[in-house]
């Protein structure tokens, strides 16, 4: 039945409705009206801008765009949107308070968060290494390839890691920067090339 689709998490408390007492459930709940007392869900509570909840709330996730007076305990997250106003204590591993939200109370992310943020940290580094490793390999083959092609300078290529470009001579240039013409230790092949460049 299509009814079952509707049943799947479609509980809405309309704007003119007042519920006073205890509310429990296993589906998402959207509050546009008022709920007072006690509220516990195994899923998500959404308090829309017109919604007012004066209750002790125990849920998996809470998204507050309206008004909540009372304590919220969430097993996953609590989010106060820019329209959200709340007075009470929040106890949840993840607490998100957006600019514009109004909140007064305590926040307790528990002792687990460090343990939970660790995997997040490790997840970020995982990205970095992959990024590093990705660019790293290509240059190496490139360096290896250029000397191989320019076989004429094979001897010099063996010792030089940094310079892979046509200016194979350049790596030696910085060492005696002030004295480019100085011909002391430079190999014969290199000398000739340097001279050619200077002429250009």
């Amino acid at each position: 039945m299509a009814k079952d689709l509707v049943v799947g998490g479609n509980t809405v408390i309309g704007p003119s409705i007042l519920i006073n007492g205890k509310l429990t459930g296993d589906e998402d709940l959207t509050v546009r009206g008022r709920v007072e007392g006690e509220l516990s869900l195994t899923r998500t509570l959404i308090v829309e801008p017109s919604g007012v909840v004066k209750a002790n709330v125990s849920v998996k996730n809470a998204v507050v765009s309206g008004v909540v007076v009372g304590n919220i305990q969430a097993t996953e997250s609590v989010e106060l949107t820019h329209e959200g106003r709340m007075v009470g204590d929040i106890r949840s591993p993840r607490v998100i308070i957006v600019d514009g939200a109004s909140f007064r109370g305590r926040v307790d992310m528990g002792e687990l968060p460090p343990g939970r943020t660790l995997p997040e940290r490790s997840a970020r580094p995982q990205l970095r290494p992959t990024v590093r490793s990705l660019p790293a390999p290509p240059p190496r083959p490139a360096v290896a390839a250029t000397p191989a092609k320019g076989a004429g300078t094979g001897a010099s290529a063996a010792g030089r890691k940094p310079g892979g470009m046509p200016g194979i001579v350049r790596p030696e240039m910085p060492r005696p920067p002030v004295a480019p013409p100085a011909p002391p230790v430079v190999a014969a092949g290199a000398k000739k090339k340097v001279v050619l460049k200077k002429k250009k």
Binding site: M1, A2, K3, V6, V7, G8, G9, N10, T11, V12, I13, G14, P15, S16, I17, L18, I19, N20, G21, K22, L23, T24, G25, D26, E27, L29, R32, G33, G37
Partner: protein
């Protein structure tokens, strides 16, 4: 007011829906239609219509304008307009309303008071 709008699949269009897994123990009041697919215990007072769908269970006193019951209701029902007990519903309690309809197949135990003023 869009009282009693019904979708093609038979569900009601309303602002407020108490889903099938929801249990409310307390008092519900308001000025709009209410659809109950879950469980409500306590008291319900509305100025509009109440629909207790097939999966709905109500153990509460009800005061509304209209009531349509396809589920289970235990409690006294008082409506300013109409009470309709549909087929397959199970109702235990007193019913008081100017118009009371009991469909073939409905199960009902209690008093009926249509408030006939002629008496």
């Amino acid at each position: 007011m869009p009282v009693g709008l019904i979708r093609k699949d038979g569900t009601h269009v309303a602002n407020t829906v108490i889903g099938s897994s929801i249990v409310i123990d307390g008092e519900i009041s308001g000025d709009e239609d209410l659809v109950i697919q879950g469980t409500v215990k306590g008291k319900i007072s509305l100025r509009e219509s109440l629909y207790v769908e097939g999966s709905g269970v109500v153990e509460a006193d009800i005061e509304t304008q209209n009531v349509e019951i396809a589920g289970r209701v235990t409690g006294n029902i008082q409506a300013t307009d109409k009470v309709e007990l549909k087929a397959d519903c199970r109702v235990v309690g007193d019913v008081k309303a100017p118009r009371i309809l009991i469909a073939d197949g409905a199960s009902f135990k209690g008093n009926v008071d249509m408030d006939v003023k002629e008496r």
